[in-house]
Amino acid sequence: MSLKRNILDLRKRKEIVLQGGGEDAIKKQAAMGKLTARERIEGILDKGSFHEYDMFVEHQSKDFDMDKKVLHGDGVVIGTGTVYGEPVAIYAQDFTVAGGSLGLMHARKITKIMDHAIKMRMPIIGINDSGGARIQEGVDSLAGYGEIFFHNTQASGVIPQLSVILGPCAGGAVYSPALTDFVFVVDNISKMFITGPEVVKTVLGEEVSMEELGGARVHACISGNAHFFASTEQECFEQIKKLLTFIPWNNQRKAKAFPAKAPKAEYNIEKILPADPTQPYDVRDIIRAVADDSDFFEVQQDFAQNIVVGFGRIDGETIGFVANQPLVLAGVLDCDSADKAGRFIRFCDAFNIPIVTFEDMPGYLPGVEQEYMGVIRHGAKVLYAYSEATVPKVTVILRKAYGGGYIAMNSRHLKADFMFAWPTAEIAVMGPEGAANIIFRKEIKESANPEETRKQKVAEYREKFANPYVAASKGYIDSVIEPSETRLLLKHSIEVSGNKTVMTPVKKHGIPPF
């Protein structure tokens, strides 16, 4: 009798908590085109796999009449479940409860599930939808943020951390996603900024809409804070699940292997590259021509498009692809593309994902703007990331490999394990035009017909040096290969690198050029 009553009482208590901020608040959430916290979790995890913890946690604040307010679950839902049968930890801020505002207990729930994820070595997915700090709690809410940031940093490189921005994420709150590995945004729903348009207007006098200041597109295209952009929450959930198929569960494991699949016939690797090195093409077609099922899952698709990074598989094994993109800005390395590549390479290295690099680039971007923006320290990130990486590293030089760019793009000199070059490769200190102008300056100047001599010298230089054989003769290139052999050789390289062991000097940690 008594047990039955207790059970009924428990059910009633749970029911109340599951209502979050109540019917009206849920209607408002829906009116904004947003799902509720629990609907989102259901949308990402395997059906029925979610178990929620800390439902009865309540805030402890007393100031400003807060002791009279009940905030169910303190505005955040935490728990564990599975994605494709594998365990994950998840939390979702509940905007219907006091605007998802972050108080101390709210933060403690988040750090609790993070601790759990770290201990159990499984990925953590964080869904952000919060108006910011719960001002009534004062410094306690700041303490909460700080504790989350610390946990993010501790978890970094141990378990994959995914942040999903499905609502406002403003002020200090933005730094948790910024510390995690992948940030997902949804058009018209995600809003991320340090200070909102109101404050920007009063303090700085700049008038800007919320969308222009920190909308999904801004972070996907301009700031580079986001890694995946979706039109709807549902599409975003599919992206999350797809990403999870490519990455391992922790830094001690390898990504799950899938059955090997041949690339699709429509991607004919011999028909993609134009012979003229000044003509563009989409390097992603080269990746699709070697990847299983031509499936390439691009990361930061709309940011710094002059470099392409993302995941695919070769013979069933996850590969991190990095490729210069001649289609955009001729494929130069600049501040943004160096940041993008450096970070991706470090993720792959931390999580045991072999890196394949396709190189076709004319060098670092010159100019006052880039120098002032620090192309030196940003560009150094690529060098650092490749040099530091101990996972199998394979490079295929497709066409141009000039100067600093040649060194930076996983060259032999940074300890690439395999260096392949197509016969179209041009490996040189600089392009034939620039080089001939310098080396033969005197001849050109003193010639009766300088323009004619210049052309002739450029052609001469191109013939002699703009090829892969000079580098191959010094052993800097292991093999000059036919394009059609590329997939087979990549497969082979990864296969024979299975037991790669590298000794690095003992250190606490390096000091990458942040």
Binding site: L204, G205, T278, L329, P362, E433, G434
Partner: protein, 108 residues
């Protein structure tokens, strides 16, 4: 579908490629003009201490620009004359806004 490629000049070679919006909208570098005094930070002009045509000494306070809750003094970078004042007290100005134009002092 035909894509229109742009020309992109790099190290003396003209590449055909697409440009990004960020690249197109980038702020071009301009040679700094020491006579044009612009705001380094967005804010509000609190008060203007000089008049057009006035001679000033290096280090003289020209105006007060309040930004991020700080009253920043804009001082004369060299001794000269105020040629034109482009702002009024109370104006909210963005970063990089031209505030005061100076010129060499004729007497010198």
């Amino acid at each position: 579908m035909t894509v229109k490629y742009e020309k992109f000049l790099l190290n003396g070679v003209e590449y055909k490629t697409l440009l990004t919006q960020k690249w197109i909208n980038r702020k071009r570098w301009e040679e700094p003009n020491p006579y044009l005094l612009s705001s380094h930070i967005p804010g509000t002009i609190m008060q203007i201490e000089v008049k057009e045509g006035q001679n000033v000494q290096e280090g003289d306070v020209l105006l007060i620009l309040q930004a991020m809750k700080m009253n920043n003094k804009l001082t004369a970078p060299f001794s000269g004359k105020i040629k034109k004042i482009h702002v009024n007290a109370g104006d909210k100005i963005p970063k990089g806004a031209l505030m005061i134009e100076m010129e060499e002092n004729e007497a010198v």
